[in-house]
Structure formats: structure tokens, C-alpha cells
């Protein structure tokens, strides 16, 4: 029997190792798996590489993980937001490395990792500073940048509902990076507001099929 449900947040993040590369979903705080990140913090892991669109908000979730100096490197499109002082302080101190990636390229690099694509050519970033050091190629008369897959050891994601097979649905713009990160890590852990019976999710509307998901934990919000 397939049963990806785990009983609590500590079980959900069990086994994540120091030095791991993690993917954190969310766009700002919307769709951010705050409870899982908090559990990760409590588990004590450190020296992490984190890929996320932003750098955390206020002093919760990713922001707190950065404040506690658990994150060695952030791979990110937009680290500076309205309340990103934890990151900014760490950055000013030189306590965190930043790899800045255009948002669509960040997403596509993770999809590539999940889709068995070993590299792809895009216009995004061509002839800019963010392409410095990257291989380029003229295709159809335009300069393209070769981008490589970005894979996580672990992805932490957040969904609205899940079932014991790991099928997930999301809510409005909280979907954002969750489905693509679910494709791109060896261990995919989802926090959901509610776990529903197998068969309760409409098979036409499942956004993340269970094949991508390893653990599901209900957090009630």
C-alpha cells in the first residue's frame, strides 16, 4: 500500500542532512511552506544551499533560517523585498553567498532537472551580466545562453489538499513554484492544509500527481 502521509512535521523533515540543496516554494509568503521550514530549523540542519524565489519575509520561514545562519548559499531571483532584513543583514556581513537567476530561468532550470533535460538555450539574460561565464550560442541569428538543470536533494512545498498517494491541488496564486519544485528534487515533502480520502480529488484537476511527492503532512492551514 502506498501511504505518503506522515504524522507530524518532525517526521516530515526527518533525514535532511547538513550541506543539502533545498528547494523552497512560494512567492513571497504566498505558498511558502513555513511550517516545514520551521521544522527544518528545529531539526538543526545547517550549511544549506537553498533555491527560492525570494529570501524570506520578516523573521519566519526562510528569513529565520537565514537569520540563524543555516543557509550557506541562496539561489534566488529577487532577494530584496519589503521585509527581507534577515537576508540583507547576512548578505552585508558576507555570511551568505547569492546566486542571482532570472525568475523564469530559475523555474525552467528546475523543470529541466525534473524533465531529464540536461541543458537548454534561452534568450533570457543574453548579453547581460547574469550570463557572464556562461556558454552562449548563436541560434537563428540571436545570442542564446546555455542553462543547466537545477536539482534539489529536497523540495519543501505547500499545497491546499493532498491524499495518501501524494496527489496535490493548490489555491489561487499560492500554486506558483510548488508544482515545478515538486518535479525537481530527490525527496519532495508537501505540507497541506487538509489530507483527503484517496479518490476525493478530481483526476482532471490534480495539479501535482503523486508520482512527484514522497511525504505529505497535514498542517491545518
Amino acid at each position: 500500500m502506498i501511504d505518503k502521509r506522515v504524522k507530524d512535521l518532525a517526521s516530515a523533515v526527518a533525514g535532511i542532512k547538513d550541506g543539502a540543496t533545498l528547494l523552497f516554494a512560494g512567492f513571497g509568503q504566498v505558498g511558502e511552506p513555513v511550517e516545514l521550514i520551521q521544522a527544518l530549523l528545529e531539526a538543526g540542519v545547517r550549511d544549506l544551499t537553498v533555491a527560492a524565489n525570494n529570501s524570506g519575509t520578516g523573521e519566519v520561514g526562510l528569513a529565520k533560517l537565514i537569520r540563524e545562519r543555516r543557509v550557506r548559499k541562496l539561489i534566488c531571483s529577487f532577494p530584496r523585498t519589503s521585509d527581507s532584513h534577515c537576508f540583507e543583514a547576512a548578505f552585508a556581513e558576507g555570511a551568505i553567498e547569492l546566486e542571482l537567476v532570472p525568475q523564469g530561468t530559475l523555474s525552467e532550470r528546475m523543470r529541466a532537472a525534473g524533465a531529464g533535460i540536461a541543458g537548454f538555450y534561452v534568450r533570457t539574460g543574453a548579453e547581460t551580466k547574469l550570463a557572464e561565464g556562461k556558454e552562449t550560442r548563436m541560434i537563428d541569428g540571436k545570442l542564446h545562453v546555455l542553462e543547466r538543470p537545477l536539482r534539489g536533494d529536497v523540495a519543501l512545498i505547500k499545497a491546499l489538499k493532498g491524499d495518501r498517494w501524494g496527489n496535490l491541488v493548490y489555491r489561487k496564486s499560492a500554486r506558483n513554484f510548488n508544482p515545478v519544485m515538486a518535479m525537481a528534487a530527490d525527496l519532495v515533502i508537501a505540507q497541506v492544509k487538509e489530507i483527503v480520502e484517496l479518490g476525493a480529488l478530481d483526476p482532471e484537476c490534480v495539479v501535482t500527481p503523486g508520482i512527484f511527492v514522497d511525504r505529505v503532512v497535514e498542517v491545518g492551514r
Binding site: R123, E127, T128
Partner: protein, 223 residues
Amino acid sequence: MKQLSRRQMAWRAAQDIADGAYVNLGIGLPTLVSDYLPKDREIVLHSENGILGMGPAPKPGEEDPDLINAGKGLTTLLPGGAFFHHNDAFLMIRGGHLDLALLGAYEISETGDIANWTVEDPATPPGVGGAMDLAAGAKEIRVILEHNTKEGASRIRRRCHYPLTASGVVKRIYTNLAVIDVTPDGLVVREIVPELDFSQLQDKTEARLTLANDWRKLEAPAI
């Protein structure tokens, strides 16, 4: 000197958006454009966090924390709108499915280069967001920006001095003083605020300008 307010600049840019267009409005000034879309046109707003068919800001009491725009402000969804994931949102951008991206910028060059992601201030970390994806991917790029910096320097330059977001992509520029097209023959001024003549506008502009034969006065309603 009379010049357009930020809201008037947004209004002016809004008037040029065609009925039926799929449009991404950049963070900041361009976001204001959504308040001035002509009522008789159906324009579909795209947001890179997975929305097509964004509506106006929510009425008090109708805010939904799971429904935000790219600037992370609360928004709404129109009938006919749809949600999708980030990867599809950027597939739409990079794949040329958007008719228009209206972006903010620090600087524009006379060949349509755009610099809008970093001023290379060592004190603050840089951020790029979806700027490069939009600038490289949308079918047409237009920019809204103040004509000059607070110190009076021209933002419309022979070459951008800040790091580029993309090169040669901007087609039209809306400023507080003028509407300017980027053409193969250089920058062509289409509209100027009434209080300024062409040579005064040129004085405020580093890049070389040409005045269109059919140039008009740039006017906007009081907002």
C-alpha cells in the same frame, strides 16, 4: 514646469493598449496602469506568479491572501481568468505569448537597450525577478519612466550605464515629459508636454531625438 504625474504617465501608457491584448505590467509604476485601462476594451493582465485575467485591487473585506500580483500586492481574478504554475507563467513570457510587457526602468538607450534590474549599489543585494525574462520574451516592450533622475540626469541615454536587462528590445517610452518611439532611425518623439518645446526636451535628454512630423501635445486628464 508642468509635467505628467506618475498616475498620468500610467494613464497615457494605458491608452495605447489594444483591445484583446495579453499584457504584463511590471512592478512599480507600470502596476498603476491597471487603474486606467480603457473600459471599452477587454485586456487580459498576466502575472508571472501564475495568473491570467487579473482584475482590480480587492474591495475592503474581499482581500484574499492567496491572490497576489507580481509586486506582492493583493489582487482579484476576472471571470475567464485562470491559475497556473510558475513554469507555465514563464513559458508564456519567454515563448512570446504576451503581446506587451510594460516595464519600469532606470535607463533606456537610443537603440532600445533597457537597464532596470540593478544600480550596482554595493550596500544592497541585487534582484532581477522576472525582468530579464519579460524583456527578452514579450512580443513588444514598452517602458514607463521618469525622464530624468532627481539630480536631473537623463534616463534616456546614448548607452545605458547601468548593467543591461536586455538589448535592443524597447519599442516605446513613456515619460513625464514625452512619448518616444525607438525606431531603426533612432528615437522619434511622438508627443511632448505642452510646456516644453522640442529643443528643451532635447536639452533634458542625453540621447539624440528626432521630432515626428505628426507630433502631438502630451496631455492627460487630472487624476
